[in-house]
């Protein structure tokens, strides 16, 4: 029995959780196991939890315009923690012109507000890593 494990978090002082809650519920309804970390998490804290949960995906919610800095710091923390094969996605208020830069930084999927839920689920299912080391012989 294998399930896709996701850690959803918001960073900084952004206090709006509705979007993150909606995505959490939707991913759970799609059969994924979601750890919702809530607000006020530092990039290092988010990555540390993702490592301990052996998450396949880190989902970031950003509504306050700080997505580029936030993403850079999370990607750096992921590198320090050796989580290079973990899928990173980001959603929220993201201007279209920032999307290429986010991909360059290392974000896999970018989902601006208005993205259909199915697209997020489909993207994760298609891009998540495969079998874990130490699996069935």
């Amino acid at each position: 029995m294998r399930a896709i494990k996701v850690v959803i978090a918001k960073a900084g002082l952004d206090g709006h959780e509705r979007g993150a809650h909606a995505v959490t519920a939707m991913l759970r309804d799609a059969g994924m196991e979601v750890t919702y970390l809530g607000m006020f998490q530092s990039p290092e804290q988010i990555v540390s939890v993702a490592a301990d949960e052996d998450a396949d995906v880190i989902g970031l919610s950003s509504l306050n315009g700080a997505h580029l800095t936030f993403a850079e710091r999370v990607v750096a923390a992921m590198g320090d923690a050796g989580l290079d094969d973990v899928l990173l996605v980001l959603g929220g208020i993201v201007p279209v012109e920032d999307i290429p830069r986010l991909h360059e930084i290392g974000v896999g999927g970018v989902f601006p507000a208005g993205t259909l839920m199915d697209e997020i689920v489909g993207y994760i299912e298609s891009n998540v890593r495969g079998e874990r080391v130490g699996g069935p012989t």
Partner: protein
């Protein structure tokens, strides 16, 4: 039986590597492997406490407070927080660790969410392995937190050294607690959110009821997990080193439970797929002529005849 990549993983866990620990628990979660029989006797044991109770009682906050206390004693701690998977979608929301944020960054605290993944018997096949992984990593204390609803709470009791039931005034009166069946297996009851009106009366009535049904063996403590009230009093009642010393009991119960669940699942699948008709007993039951108890009795009789 243990292949090379897993051997490598085990060695890294023994050296204290968190990433290897996280991966090892995933391997167990995925059902690919069980190591409890192979490694049980070679591992230094931890004291295991089961924390159970109805939703909203404050289990996660109380678990976090117990972790804080354990850390003040220099103990390395592992926490397994179990949440139910949706029977319909298979997904889960693992939300317990949100309450334990104070321990973020502490290298001697490892917290992991586990989804039940629709296993019958709660998670009693995976939990002993996950607990073993934590012991390999060097945990002195393992806390297993589950929602205490009927059978799953009772199942946890067999694989830990002590069981703590957390309840509150807001969680219904003592009659509700009794209905869950958990009162039969709890070693300690914590009436949490003790600052709420009615907490003292609730503790008192639970104490009376327990004295009636279980003599003096169960303690009732009032706690306020948020500010630490009652934790020092609770600690010696739940941290039972002398029980952990008898490691065979826990491992025996876990192994037995694992076999029972596997056999039950296999038979249930055969019945559900209508591949096993027990001399027409199952068909008779579906048709209303034979009771379910009679069908079960038939199966048990056949099994015991070998």
């Amino acid at each position: 039986m243990i292949d090379a990549p897993v051997e490598g993983l085990l060695a890294r866990v023994r050296r204290g590597e968190r990433s290897a620990l996280a991966r090892l628990i995933s391997v167990f979660e995925d059902g690919a492997l069980t190591l409890a029989p192979a490694l049980a006797d070679t591992t230094a044991g931890a004291v295991a406490i089961g924390v159970t109770g109805p939703p909203g009682a404050g289990k996660s906050t109380l678990t976090s407070a117990l972790v804080t206390h354990a850390r003040s004693l220099g103990l390395r701690v592992g926490v397994l927080a179990v949440d139910p998977s949706s029977p319909r979608t298979g997904g889960a929301l693992l939300g317990d660790r949100v309450r334990m944020g104070v321990h973020a960054g502490d290298p001697d605290v490892y917290i992991r969410g586990l989804a039940s993944r629709g296993r019958t018997g709660g998670l009693t096949d995976v939990l002993p392995d996950a607990m073993l992984a934590l012991e390999l990593w060097g945990a002195h204390l393992v806390l297993v937190e589950t929602v205490g609803v009927g059978q799953s709470a009772v199942d946890i009791a067999g694989i830990v050294d002590s069981t703590l039931l957390v309840t509150t005034v807001a969680g219904g009166d003592e009659i509700q607690a009794a209905k869950a069946g958990v009162l039969e297996v709890a070693d300690v009851v914590a009436v949490n959110k003790a600052d709420l009106p009615g907490a003292a009366a609730l503790a008192s009535s639970i104490r009376s009821m327990l004295r009636l049904h279980r003599g003096g063996e169960v303690s009732v403590v009032r706690t306020c997990a948020r500010d630490g009230t009652g934790i020092a009093e609770l600690w010696p009642l739940v941290y039972r080193e002398e029980r952990a010393a008898d490691r065979t009991r826990r491992r025996h119960t876990a192994a037995l439970r694992r076999v029972a669940v596997a056999v039950g699942d296999a038979v249930a699948a055969l019945v559900a797929e209508e591949k096993l008709d027990a001399d027409g007993a199952v068909a008779g039951c579906i048709g209303g002529e034979v009771s379910v108890d009679e069908v079960v009795g038939w199966f048990v009789h056949r099994l015991s005849q070998g």
